[in-house]
Symmetry: C2
Subunit: 205 residues, 2 copies
């Protein structure tokens, strides 16, 4: 059992990333989903350690100072960050760790973990995306327009990504992501020592 892979997942809101992550975690034992730390209050139904690790401003500040976060960012008055321990412990245990984050955060992750695999999830077309964003609830035209505008910004920097996954059908998408992660374990770097061993061994006789 080698070390796990860090898989960074970004994508348009409305691409179905959350559902995709849940389906992956349910279906495969070898995957772990990184849980973020946040200073915002829990919402009804959210669970400590599952939805988020809930922290006071002071606790969050200490995590930053102790270098316990891989990355963090402020968003509408609250802090959000990725705790390092969870990620590293799972990678060491051989689990592939998924981390859902927007592109700016992904770039910070890639700097610290150059072997991280960057995956961008997209709906099959702008029409489908528009449909998903407008169907979510009974929001006003303003809210919907703001969302569509944000979607155009969410792909800023996608050129740095390794893979693009089209989420048309959830089950297909789950299998595609699983296939990519498994294939990443066949990357030559991970097995070059086996080849060297074989060559040394053969030349010994």
């Amino acid at each position: 059992m080698g070390k796990g892979k860090l898989i960074v997942v970004s994508g348009f809101s409305g691409a179905g990333k959350g559902t995709l992550m849940n389906a992956l975690m349910e279906r495969y034992d070898n995957y772990a989903l990184s849980v973020s730390a946040t200073t915002r209050a829990p919402r009804p139904g959210e669970v400590e350690g599952v939805s988020y690790f809930y922290k006071t401003d002071e606790e969050f500040r200490q995590m930053i100072e102790r270098d316990e976060l891989i990355e963090y960012a402020g968003y509408v008055g609250h802090y959000y960050g990725t705790p390092k321990t969870f990620v590293e412990e799972n990678l060491e245990a051989g689990k592939d760790v998924f981390l859902e984050i927007e592109i700016q955060g992904a770039m910070k992750i890639k700097q610290k973990y150059p072997d991280a695999v960057l995956m961008f999830v997209t709906p099959p077309s702008a029409d489908v995306l528009r449909e998903r964003l407008t169907k979510r609830g009974t929001e006003s035209a303003d809210v919907i327009e703001a969302r569509l505008k944000r979607a155009t910004e969410e792909a800023e920097g996608v050129e740095a990504y390794d893979y693009i996954v089209v989420n048309d059908n959830l089950q297909d998408c789950v299998e595609t992501v699983d296939r990519i992660v498994k294939s990443e374990h066949n990357k030559a770097g991970e097995h070059i020592s086996l080849i060297k061993e074989i060559r040394t061994d053969l030349s010994k006789q």
Copy 2:
């Protein structure tokens, strides 16, 4: 349907590449196996256009002159080469084309097709490789020793490869290769135009 991928497969003799290629072609409709041209005579049981395209020295020389070969090399008095037409027609038709070739030839392919995926197939250990090479027939110790020596040379340059696939169990190996090829179709480069389309489309309203 996009363009197919060119998959270059190399590996130790005794790694089971031939059996692996046959199993892949039998199981998946979307794969094509490149057939080499050669100036050597057909052996019993070999079929023109399946085993090889059999050429006279003069025909082979003309193929070289007309730039009809992606690469070619001489080996014990005969020429072997990869006809360009077969590969390009299948890639255009959206098929993934497999090409079995040693590392030196693979490097020439990669120069002409920078998008080609390089895959190296290996047995799980030197012991297994030794067993496979010595069990093949009733060859003399000399022949076996020459084979083992050649095996150590066959991995020269493997650092340039994208993937290493361990052939322990044939079915697992077939699935691993299929997974890698499918995942290569999710590489960001192939889908970046979709993201651009979505962004343009969303910003239009």
